[in-house]
């Protein structure tokens, strides 16, 4: 077995507040239950749980040479699918895949990167397997509040991102119905390149950023 497991994965942000009518009053929990029930009806098997979390680091002001240069944000993420690895990404920049000791290194680099603890965001939920598909339905939480739902669908046998998009769409339509998303923007320019776990984490990062930017509208309605 190679260390890197190559697969194709697409990430979807499913927001209970915006997509479902408020009058019904469905909470995040209930929507997750609806999705998981549909998956189980399809024939998927539950296979444990998963967790993806993301911490934000600001570049410290002391390291700025130029006054006008904006501080860069670095995201350090973990994925339970790769328990021995740690991912570090910049917004539109490169992705570093390191081993788990990277967290300790970040502590030592306190002078250069400061941890914005309030911005820690994570997604937790259950893993399902259906034939060669791996589906992870998770609740996105920031601090104590649940902000949305993330659905990750992975088609394991295919390694080229663009090849199997239609296949994935069809599968997602079977259990997500009309809420199936369009092709993620990051795959527009990458034709025929082999998919890597860094691409998954980049998608999660985009998703978490989108959730953070959203206004915290009617928190009571979500519960």
């Amino acid at each position: 077995m190679r260390l890197l497991n190559l697969f194709c994965c697409f990430l979807v942000f499913y927001d209970s507040v915006s997509q479902m009518p408020v009058a019904e009053g469905k909470s995040v929990q209930q929507t997750v239950e609806i999705l998981t029930r549909k998956l189980e009806l399809l024939g998927a098997e539950k296979q444990g749980t998963f967790c993806v979390d993301c911490e934000t680091y600001h570049t410290a002001a002391s390291t700025m040479g130029n006054q006008g240069q904006a501080g860069k944000l670095m995201y350090v993420m973990h994925n339970s699918e790769y328990p021995l690895s740690c991912f570090a990404l910049f917004e539109n920049g490169p992705c570093l895949i390191a081993d788990a000791n990277f967290d300790v290194l970040m502590v030592k680099l306190k002078g250069f990167f400061q941890n914005a603890k309030a911005n820690k965001i994570e997604s937790r939920g259950t893993r399902y397997q259906y034939c060669d598909f791996l589906v992870k339905v998770g609740t996105v939480t920031m601090g104590p509040s649940a902000r949305g739902i993330s659905v990750e669908v992975e088609y394991c046998p295919c390694v080229v991102a663009n090849d199997c998009w239609n296949l994935l769409m069809e599968f997602m339509q079977s259990f997500m119905g009309s809420h199936t998303p369009g092709i993620p923007s990051m795959f527009g320019n990458k034709h025929d390149s082999i998919y890597s776990p860094g691409d998954t984490m980049a998608q999660y990062m985009e998703l978490f950023n989108k959730i953070r930017k959203q206004q915290q509208v009617s928190v009571a309605g979500i519960r």
């Binding site: 259906y130 046998p157 390694v159 069809e170």
Partner: protein, 316 residues
Amino acid sequence: MRGKMAEGVLSPGVNLEAFSQAIAAIQALRSSVTRVFDCLKDGMRNKETLEGREKSFVSCFQESLHSVSRDLSELERLSNLVGKPSENHPLHNSGLLSLDPVQDKTPLYSQLLQAYKWSNKLQYHAGLASGLLNQQSLKRSANQMGVSAKRRPKAQPTTLVLPPQYVDDVISRIDRMFPEMSIHLSRPNGTSAMLLVTLGKVLKVIVVMRSLFIDRTIVKGYNENVYTEDGKVDIWSKSNYQVFQKVTDHATTALLHYQLPQMPDVVVRSFMTWLRSYIKLFQAPCQRCGKFLQDGLPPTWRDFRTLEAFHDTCRQ
């Protein structure tokens, strides 16, 4: 006991007639002994006087004892007539096993009999099966096996024995035919060639050959490991993905379908052309139902003539 030994003549010393009579005598003896004990159990019958009762009881008892002794002597006479079975065992060595008294712990003889019966049945069924299979020729090679040396024509080219160089040449020519398919040949186990075919970034196929005939194929994903720990091509382990397990089954069907005993290189070429159609495994929808997925699998079947994609359940 039945069949051959009906008359009791074949096996000297065993008088079957006397044998059955002796068994009847045993039954008679048993019933007379039972009568004795019944008589004792019943005790004295109800009669007018005590003497009368005693007398009738004693006479009844004596009578039953006499019948016992009569039956016993009859039995002894008959048992002398039955005689002993012959000393030489007709079962030879295996019969000696049956003399083992501890039947619970070492049931060797009964197991031996069962094994013998089973192997006889197996031989019979195998004979029937070979007769049925020989009716339809399943040979892909041009060799005629089972024909006597006299009748075999002298100048018959045996396509089973080809020089390895020829095989290498054919394979390298096919390798150059398609740009997206690359074939790597190795001979880790003797003279049979093992091909590792890589099709684009979709899949890898391990083909085990016997001179120029394709023996087995295994289809695996592009990212799966095809080598064993020693670095040799792994020809046994299956793919981890259901879609490639399905494609492996289809590839096996294909290698049985493309048959031309006299021109094996054409066969290999056709097989590789068929295999090449899998470059669009994840992109092509099914020609019949128009969908991409059926039970979670993409269209894995490729028609042998037209190379169109179908789901396994959608093909004719």
